[in-house]
Symmetry: C2
Subunit: 382 residues, 2 copies
């Protein structure tokens, strides 16, 4: 397999973008990424989107986006793995370049979520329809059960959950593309509307419109283009039972651990080698469990980890410097690529006010549903 580099990234601002359609969002992000990379051709295109059918009655996104970036008649692939669709698009594009099938590949993700009344219903299609969603279990409810179990088993506190949101809002305030750019306090989180106890609305990522793209090419071709390359050194994907009730332990996210182990092994890295990470904080409890599964904390110690400040912007292992899904916003299909874009900017030293100190290795972890799928990538400066 060939070594592969990311040579360009781009994204739309994230938010309630009433004036932009799904194709506008993808094309805007694609053109920014192409411009960042300095390439004027694309051999193949990927688009990750969770449920453009349920959100905007539009499938066939590969052909649609190839058409609207300029109709190059290129192969175009839409992939879906619920909220991990973007990370999966990145992995599939990586494989296409690594295999030798194509040289310059545009990978992107997009979601247009604000055009329907009930985004929570559409999102529930990522759970087990026959055994969860049909009976009314929404994602806030599923993650609330994970949170309660984690609090019971490990002593994780309500304040520790809130600290994830406070940290990510603080980072998001430094990100001009974030949906929410306001710092909040633990008290604000705890006083916000209850969604599914113990999760209040400020524990939940928002409904968001947005797109994000990246350009991949073989590493040995990267010097031909203006975009500063970052090397992909690890890619891991894993799945778990789609229904929460089928798992041995709902306080664990086994697919996250496996996807990370596979990525670490491929990269020849360990958790302590990671200088900056974007992880899938769809709910505050998710970041706590994920940091455990990635090996940043012992099992059950994700709460104390965030409380210690180690995952803050100036900590040992800054997590979600972009603001994360919580503050940056969570256009589900776009999230995985937006995470990559943040890691690339951090490794290039282009992250502005949220730049961490000279990172060499970054990790992006993207998750689907209540953890039934997870994709982890590790990137390194060249």
């Amino acid at each position: 397999m060939r070594e592969v580099a990311v040579i360009g990234v781009g994204n739309t601002p994230f938010g309630e973008l009433w004036e932009k359609s799904i194709r506008d969002l993808y094309v805007e992000a694609a053109l920014k990424a192409l411009d960042d990379a300095g390439v004027d051709r694309v051999d193949a295109l990927y688009v990750g989107a969770m449920s453009s059918g349920m959100f905007v009655d539009q499938e066939h996104l590969g052909a649609l986006m190839a058409d609207y970036i300029g109709n190059y008649h290129i192969p175009a692939v839409r992939v879906e793995s619920a909220c991990a669709s973007g990370g999966l698009a990145f992995r599939q594009g990586y494989m296409e370049v690594a295999s030798g099938m194509s040289d310059i590949v545009l990978v992107g993700g997009v979601e247009k979520m604000t055009d329907i009344e009930d985004a929570t219903f559409a999102l529930a299609s990522a759970a087990d329809q026959d055994n969860e969603s049909y009976f009314g279990a929404t994602f806030p409810a599923l993650y609330a059960m994970i949170a309660r179990a984690h609090m019971h088993k490990y002593g994780t506190t309500r304040d520790q959950l809130a600290m994830v949101s406070v940290k990510n809002h603080k980072n998001g305030a430094l990100n001009p593309d974030a949906q929410f750019r306001l710092p909040i306090t633990i008290e604000t989180v705890k006083k916000s509307m209850i969604v599914a106890d113990p999760l209040n609305i400020l524990d939940c990522s928002p409904v968001t419109d947005g797109g994000a793209c990246a350009i991949l090419c073989p590493l040995d071709m990267a010097s031909k283009f203006k975009g500063k390359p970052v090397k992909i050194i690890g890619s891991g994907a894993a799945t778990d039972s789609i229904a929460l009730h089928s798992r041995e332990d709902i306080t664990a996210l086994k697919a996250v651990r496996l996807s990370a182990e596979r990525a670490y092994q491929m990269a020849g890295k360990k958790p302590s080698d990671i200088d900056v990470a974007e992880v899938h904080d769809c709910f505050t409890i998710a970041e706590i469990v994920i940091t455990e599964e990635l090996g940043f904390a012992e099992r059950g110690k994700g709460g104390p980890l965030v409380e210690s400040g180690k995952t803050a912007l100036d900590g040992e292992i800054p997590v979600n410097t972009s603001g994360g899904l919580k503050a940056k916003g969570h256009p589900v299909g776009a999230t995985g690529i937006a995470q990559i874009a943040e890691i690339v900017r951090q490794l290039r030293g282009e992250a502005g006010k949220r730049q961490v100190n000279n990172p060499k290795v970054g990790l992006a972890q993207n998750m689907g549903g209540s953890g039934a799928s997870s994709i982890t990538h590790i990137l390194e400066v060249v």
Copy 2:
């Protein structure tokens, strides 16, 4: 890139399968393919499905199917390219094996279409929502325009359209898994209900439930398993404008031609080398245009081609020996893999009453929407 073989295929019967859910359909086809190949492990899984969200409120199909074939925690990828989702799943799985990322890959497609009242509305999400579907243009209407233009420009006759359906029903009658197993006549087609003039209901493929799967592995590993291998020698994918009105000539299907040219080039084959073909006859006019784009007839001569009998079961280049989408049925996500399954059976000499005489090279062409995406594969006996 490594050479790749298909070592097993399997499918459900196609039809209105009220007693089976989308997961049942995929799992049944997967277990049949695994059994056919004689493998007991899978390294990664693909599932092509067009719109499981709009059809059955279920996305996240990769994780779901990995779970329901036995929860191996394997990487699992759902791909979508409208009615070409199955062909795309096959191509992506091919790339995963060719790249060296995985050895044994399960590729499949599935669609559960009969659980909603208006399948035509869900299918319209494969067209341009903003410029076609929103204004009421359904697929029968779009293909009717193609048919009228082709008749006007090339003199294609109403009877020639009907002959496609008659041929494919004749073949479908020999296929125990086909949805319709009854021979029909030109008069039956012409007297059937008008859907969008000049297309009557017997010019249209039906709404169908079904699943189909195949097992891929490196060619040099194939002899380890009991499944008789067939080699993948060409894979081509291409796109075109999603909206019909954006094309220079609506009597042509440029993505089909490009996908075929790319597959022929990779395989080192030409149209006259093909011994048997499955093509995307979603409407009778589609088979006529596609046989032109594949090079089986001159441009505009697809009507005379079917009339000549050359594409019949005992003709020079038998097309849609399975019964095609028209008679076998068209569970959209499954169709591309079902085409591959038919070609594999023909090349193995296992096609029963519809076996053609000693074919060495077969072609499968799968299309999305009104031709905005096309995937062509060429397979050869080992």
